[in-house]
Symmetry: C2
Subunit: 394 residues, 2 copies
C-alpha cells in the first residue's frame, strides 16, 4: 500500500495568499461596489518594458523558422548569452566577479529556493529567520527537517544576527527582507559569513529584491562580503527587478569554491537540475537577456523608481501617523506595527477602507502584530490607499 509523505500533515492548512484571496473574494461578493485596493501579494502591476517585449517577440518568431528554432537548451542550465549578461551585471551592479558556470537559470527563485535543500541530508538543522517568506519554512516542513527559528523584532530592526551558542547547518537569509523590507549592512552580513565559515554551515541567500536598494553602502549581493563564495548560494529573480512575476525567470549563483561535506555544491545542483528540470524556455531567456542590456536596464530602473516612489509615499504617511515601520526605503515592502492582532487589522482595513495587505502573522510568530504593504500598486492607488489610512487613523 502506498504511503504518503506524512510531513505534509504538519503544514498549515492554507497557503497564506490563498487565504487572503478567499477573504477578499468573499468580501467582494457581499460588497460588489467596494473599490478594493490590493497591496497584499507582492505582485507587480507595470507591464514588461519595450526592450523585453521586443526580445520576446523576436525570439517567438525565431521559434517558427527552421534555421533559428531551438529545442532543448544547453545541459549546463541556461544559454551562454544570458549567463554572460548576468556576469556583466554582477560586475557593474556590485563589483562581484562570477564565472558563467556558477550561474544556473531557472523558472524562478521560488523553485530554486524550495528545491535547493534536496542537496542536503535530513540531519541538518535549518535556521530560518522569523518572520519570513513562507516558502523557506513550508519546503523544509515537507522534507521533515529540523527547523530552528531566529527572531526578528523591533529591537533588532527585524535583522537577526548570530549569537553565542547558536548552532545550525543551513541558514536562510533574505535581504532586502520579505516581508519586512529590512536590509543587512555589510558589517552585519559579514557576521553571518564569519559564523557560517566557523560552523561549516551554508547560507542560502535570497537577493530577489536587490534592485530596490538605493543606499549604495548596502550590499546588493552576499558576494560583496569576503569569503562568501566559500559558504553561500545566492538566489535572484527578475520577478521584481523586471516585472517577470508572470514571465518566470530566476537565476541561482552556486560558486565553484563552495564545498560542503567534501562535495562541490555547484556539481550537485547541476546534477539535480539536469535530472529533474529541463531548463527555462528559450523565448523567456531572450526576454531576460534584454533586461540586462543598457536600454533594458534603464527601462526597468524607471519602473523600480516608480515603485520606490510609492514606497516613499507609504513611509511618509506612516511617519505622519506616528506608526512604527521598517523597510520602504531600499525595498518594495513596508512593515508596519498594527497595535492589534494582524488578522484583526487585515479585516479592519478590508472592511473600513477597502485596502488589502498581508497579515504579519502569516510570515511567522514574530510577525504577529505587524502588517506588510507592498509598493507594487499604481501611484494613484497608493495615494488613494494612503489617504484612506490618514482618514482612518487620524
Amino acid at each position: 500500500m502506498v504511503k504518503v509523505n506524512a510531513n505534509y500533515k504538519n503544514l498549515k492548512q492554507n497557503y497564506l495568499f490563498a487565504n487572503i484571496a478567499k477573504r477578499v473574494f468573499s468580501y467582494s461578493l457581499s460588497n460588489p461596489e467596494a473599490n478594493i485596493i490590493k497591496m497584499g501579494i507582492g505582485d507587480v502591476t507595470q507591464p514588461l518594458t519595450p526592450p523585453v517585449v521586443k526580445a520576446l517577440i523576436k525570439a517567438s518568431a525565431e521559434m517558427g523558422v527552421k534555421e533559428t528554432f531551438r529545442g532543448y537548451g544547453p545541459d549546463d542550465q541556461g544559454y551562454n548569452f544570458l549567463k554572460e549578461s548576468i556576469v556583466n551585471y554582477y560586475k557593474s551592479n556590485c563589483g562581484v566577479e562570477l564565472y558563467p558556470n556558477e550561474i544556473m537559470i531557472s523558472d524562478g527563485a521560488k523553485s530554486d529556493i524550495a528545491n535547493f535543500t534536496d542537496l542536503f541530508s535530513n540531519d541538518n538543522v535549518i535556521l530560518i529567520p522569523d518572520p519570513v517568506y513562507p516558502v523557506y519554512t513550508d519546503s523544509n516542513i515537507m522534507l521533515g527537517r529540523k527547523i530552528q527559528l531566529i527572531d526578528g523584532n523591533e529591537s533588532n530592526n527585524f535583522l537577526p544576527l548570530p549569537y553565542d551558542g547558536l548552532e545550525c547547518d543551513i541558514i536562510y537569509l533574505c535581504s532586502p527582507n520579505n516581508p519586512t523590507g529590512a536590509v543587512y549592512t555589510k558589517e552585519q552580513l559579514k557576521l553571518w559569513v564569519d559564523f557560517a565559515i566557523e560552523k561549516n554551515a551554508i547560507i542560502l541567500y535570497d537577493a530577489a529584491y536587490e534592485a530596490f536598494i538605493s543606499n549604495t553602502s548596502l550590499p546588493r549581493s552576499i558576494y560583496e562580503i569576503n569569503d562568501a563564495k566559500k559558504c553561500a548560494v545566492e538566489f535572484c529573480s527578475l520577478s521584481k527587478t523586471a516585472g517577470f512575476t508572470g514571465t518566470r525567470l530566476g537565476y541561482t549563483i552556486v560558486p565553484e569554491t563552495l564545498i560542503c561535506d567534501g562535495e562541490s555544491i555547484n556539481k550537485m545542483w547541476l546534477r539535480r537540475q539536469t535530472t529533474k528540470f529541463n531548463g527555462t524556455a528559450y523565448i523567456i531567456q531572450r526576454g531576460a537577456d534584454a533586461v540586462f542590456k543598457d536600454d533594458g536596464m534603464k527601462a526597468c530602473h524607471e519602473i523600480i523608481e516608480y515603485y520606490k516612489g510609492n514606497a516613499k509615499i507609504m513611509a511618509d504617511t506612516m511617519t505622519e501617523l506616528g506608526i512604527w515601520y521598517t523597510g520602504a526605503l531600499n525595498s518594495p515592502y513596508i512593515w508596519i506595527k498594527c497595535g492589534m492582532d494582524s488578522w484583526e487589522y487585515f479585516d479592519m482595513l478590508l472592511n473600513e477602507i477597502h485596502v488589502v495587505g498581508t497579515p504579519g502573522s502569516g510570515f511567522g510568530r514574530c510577525g504577529a502584530g505587524y502588517f506588510r504593504l507592498t509598493a507594487f500598486n499604481t501611484r494613484e492607488n497608493t495615494i488613494e490607499a494612503m489617504n484612506r489610512f490618514l482618514k482612518l487613523f487620524k
Copy 2:
C-alpha cells in the same frame, strides 16, 4: 556542519545524454569533415507551427500593455483557458472526461515526474520498468528510495506485466515507451490498473508520446481503462506533440477520485506546487493553448506525420536488414537489437557511418545489447542515415 544528501553518491557519474554529447564532440574535433547525423537525444527539429508562433507573439505584446499585462498566474496551477482546452482535447482524443481542477500545468513532464514522489514516504517500494527513461530511476535514487525493477525484454516485447508475487507501492509506466517505442494495449494496461487497485498502489503514467499513436485500438490515456482514475496520475507534455522541447510546457492529470493512504493526491500535489513552484509563463500557456485549437492541432499533426514517416523509413530498413526491432509504428522511437554491446555499437555507428543513436544500456541493464534511434531528424537526414545503415550492414 552541513551534511550533503548522501544518496547523490549512488547516482552514476554521467547523465546519459551528456556522455553521448561528449563522445560526439570529441569525435567531431578530430574528424571535422564528418557529416554526423544525430538520432540520439529525443529532440525535435521542426519549428513551432504558425498558430503557436502567432499566439506567442500576441501574448508577448499583451505583456507590454498595462491593461493586458499578467503577473503571477492563478494559484490552481494554470490558466483556465488552457485547462478547458485540455479538457476538450481529452474528450475528443480519447473520450476521457476530466475536470479543469484535475489538470495542473507545469514547465514540463520531466519536472512533474521527477518531483511527484515528493508526495510519498520513503517506505514505499518503487517499481520501475527496465529499460526506461533515466529520470524515473535517478530521481528516486536521489531520494534514497527502494527501487525494484521489472524486466522488459524480447520475450515480452519490452512490455512487462504484473506477475504473481509482485509487491510494490508506486508503479512507473511509460506508453508509448521511451526508449523502446512499445505501446501497451488496453487489455495489458487493465492488468496494471487491476493490480494497482488490488495492492493499493499508485501508477505514475507517462503519456508524453501519446500523440504518436496511429492504431486507434491502442489507449492514448490510462483513463481509457475503467477505474484508472482511482489509482493513476498521468503526465503529458507538448515537447513531442508540438515541438515544445525548448518552449517548455507539460500538464499532469491528478484525478479528484485518487485517494492514497486516506489523502487526496490532487490536494497534496496542489499544495506541493503552490509552495515550490510559481507556475508556467503566461506567454507559454497562450502558445500551448493554440496547439489545442483546430488549426493548431492540424498543424501539429502534419509534423507528427512527418516524424512518423521517418519512423516508417527506419522500420522498413531494419526489416530489410533482418534486424529485430520494436517501436516505430506508434512512437517516434525505434529500438533495435545490436548483436553486440550497446556502447560498442554506438562507437561503431559514430566511427563507421557518422550516425549517433542512444545506447540501450543507458536506459537500464535490460537495455544492454539494444539501441534507440529517434524519428525527430529531418526526412533527408533519416533517409541518408538509413542508406548508410544499408551500406554498413548489407
